[in-house]
């Protein structure tokens, strides 16, 4: 492995670490205050395309070390796409089967990508009728496979697995600390499994207790894959409110329009969850005026073409002869 020359013996050597951090790029144009420096950490530069490379790798290595996974005992995992894509690509490269249980509303691109990287796909209609504790058919179906077929599947369970937190505590947090040379004052993240916020916040606050940790979440009834509204967080066991200073709720349509802004004004091909985080960061910057912020941008826009069209119908205009 040679990070300087960027020559590697396998894709796994590209995984992010303090020595090989995902890039941080400054946001130049849409800044409400010149005294506030704002950077985005581009997690789509990770080898399997998203922030989920970190949790997927940590969970897979842990399973390997504990002898829980083998060529005859694969992985089953509920996923809105990114964890599944990272896990499936890694698992298949190491010779394991991967079954991904996916909510129906996940965009087609992600479902097809899961198949491209070799996952077996179960699509679940998750949102038939709002009810307490039952909106997580994908989690329940994955648990069912893992329980009924213990000999064939192990479920990493990103919603409960401490390795998800550990991954961010040992990579994302230290990378940001090093890349900002300790100047960070604000961390902006979204909430899904809460692995990123819990792990990165734990590390950064350990280094500098005053770092403000701001989580941005979409309004209820949202259509931003991978994210959870606070009222949906009962599904995850990794949510620790003591490590978060503020939770901002942002109209989920802004996730799509802000992602478009990033693509068109920054040359940053960010997906909707990044758009949502940017909107949250802008609101805090307007209030706090000065600081050094880092946003963790989970993935890029390529997987959301159909969702972008759904929310910004004008994008489809003129695409047919």
């Amino acid at each position: 492995m040679n990070h300087q020359m960027r020559v590697y013996e396998s894709c796994f050597e590209l995984l992010p670490s303090e020595a090989n951090p995902s890039p941080m790029v400054r946001i130049n144009r849409p800044s409400p205050s010149p005294e506030f420096t704002l950077y985005a950490k581009l997690e789509w530069m990770n080898p399997f395309g998203s922030v989920k490379d970190r949790a997927a790798w940590a969970m897979l290595r842990d399973l390997e070390e504990r002898g829980e996974v083998s060529p005859t005992r694969g992985i089953v995992e509920p996923t809105s796409g990114n964890t599944g894509i990272s896990l499936a690509a890694m698992a298949r490269a190491r010779g394991y089967h991967m079954r991904a249980v996916v909510p129906n509303r996940v965009p087609l691109e992600k479902k097809v990508l899961l198949k491209i990287v070799g996952a077996e796909l179960d699509v679940v209609n998750d949102e038939l009728c709002p009810a307490p504790g039952v909106g997580d058919g994908s989690i329940n179906l994955a648990k069912t496979h893992a329980k009924a077929q213990r000999d064939r599947y192990v479920m990493p369970n990103q919603y409960e697995n401490q390795m998800n937190i550990r991954a961010h505590e040992t990579t994302t947090g230290p990378e940001i600390w090093r890349q900002t040379e300790g100047r960070i004052t604000h961390l902006f993240v979204s909430l899904g499994t809460c692995g990123t916020v819990t792990g990165a916040s734990r590390f950064l606050r350990g280094k500098k207790p005053g770092v403000k940790v701001i989580a941005v979440q979409p309004t209820e009834g949202h259509d931003v894959p991978g994210l959870r509204n606070v009222r949906q967080l009962e599904a995850t066991k990794l949510f620790d409110p003591s490590l978060i200073d503020e939770i901002l709720e942002v109209d989920y349509e802004l996730a799509y329009t802000r992602a478009l802004d990033l693509c068109r004004t920054e040359g940053m091909l960010a997906g909707p969850s990044s758009g949502l985080i940017l909107e949250g960061a802008r609101r805090i910057i307007e209030r706090d005026r000065a600081g050094f912020g880092v946003m963790v941008f989970p993935d890029n826009v390529f997987k959301y073409v159909s969702n972008m069209i759904k929310h910004i119908p004008d994008l489809a205009a003129g695409t047919q002869a």
Binding site: V124, C129, A131, G133, N140
Partner: protein, 281 residues
């Protein structure tokens, strides 16, 4: 703390575990997600598909008495068996199955409190993929209880007169007419809104986060005190196609203990398609 009016219609997951394999206790899983049974079920449980096995495939109707008898014969059920139903979405379709079993007079049918999610999340409970070996029976439906079912003329009367309680168990957005049906569902109506005079109590109000039913006190408070259901009147529950409302029918009839409760299975997909019917939003 008050008890349920008919506690005998509910069994707990531990009871099911203790009674696994008993010859006169039959387990049947009925899910919204018809893939769930194949992925894993309680040992010995038979799976029914609500789309293909509990509804007439030609007319819009519940299955006929003959079809019900064949279904239960093939599932190895006898009229004297204790049938325990369970399913996903907090027993949503299991409750529909319960209503059907009662319509055809099966004496001892029960719901497993908490449904498949509760069983799934309890470490001492097993799931299997093997289908059980079945010894077919010659099931004959003991009776027909059409009085558990509300038809349109009765609903019209209930709407106008105030003589009956009408309970709309759909989501608030369906009740107010913001949407006609939950996203992605095919069965729908021409118009959105609710039947005039109906009170909105979404079906899921009756369940706890772990999937079990709320306590008798809580249920009485929700339906009688907060929603204003008059326990001295007859009651009709409805939803979109009659399945969520069978859940509320179960709650009102067996847990709260109202006297005369009916499930209007025509529900909004019938009412919302009528020419000239009054609609509130």
């Amino acid at each position: 703390m008050a008890a349920y009016a008919h506690p005998e219609v509910l069994v707990e997951t531990d009871w099911v575990k203790e009674n696994l394999g008993k010859p006169n206790i039959k387990l049947i899983e009925i899910d919204v997600d018809t893939k769930a049974y194949d992925a894993g079920h309680i040992p010995g449980a038979v799976g029914f598909n609500w789309q293909t096995q509990l509804q007439d495939q030609v007319r819009r109707d519940i299955i006929s008495k003959e079809a019900f008898e064949k279904l239960l014969s093939d599932a190895g059920v006898s009229p004297d068996d204790t049938v325990v139903l369970y399913g996903d979405n907090n027993n949503w379709f299991a409750a529909y199955g319960f209503w059907l079993f009662k319509m055809y007079g099966h004496r001892d049918v029960r719901l497993m409190n908490g449904g498949r999610v509760k069983w799934l999340n309890e470490p001492d409970k097993q799931l299997v993929t093997d289908r059980p070996a079945i010894k077919p029976t010659q099931y004959r439906a003991p009776a027909i209880h059409d009085e558990y079912r509300a038809r349109l003329p009765e609903v019209m009367e209930a709407s106008g007169g105030g003589r009956m309680n009408l309970v709309d168990v759909r989501s608030p957005d369906e009740f107010t007419g913001k949407i006609i049906a939950p996203p992605g569902l095919n069965e729908t109506a021409q118009r959105a809104g609710h039947i005039p005079g109906a009170r909105s109590v979404p079906w899921s109000t009756a369940v706890n986060a772990d999937g079990t039913f709320k306590s008798a006190d809580d249920l009485r408070s929700i339906y009688l005190n907060q929603a204003g259901v008059d326990p001295n009147k007859d009651t009709i529950a409805y939803c979109r196609i009659g399945e969520r409302s069978s859940h509320t029918w179960f709650v009102l009839k067996y847990l709260v203990g109202l006297n005369n409760v009916k499930n209007y299975d025509g529900s909004w997909t019938e009412y919302g398609n009528l020419i000239g019917a009054a609609i509130e939003r």
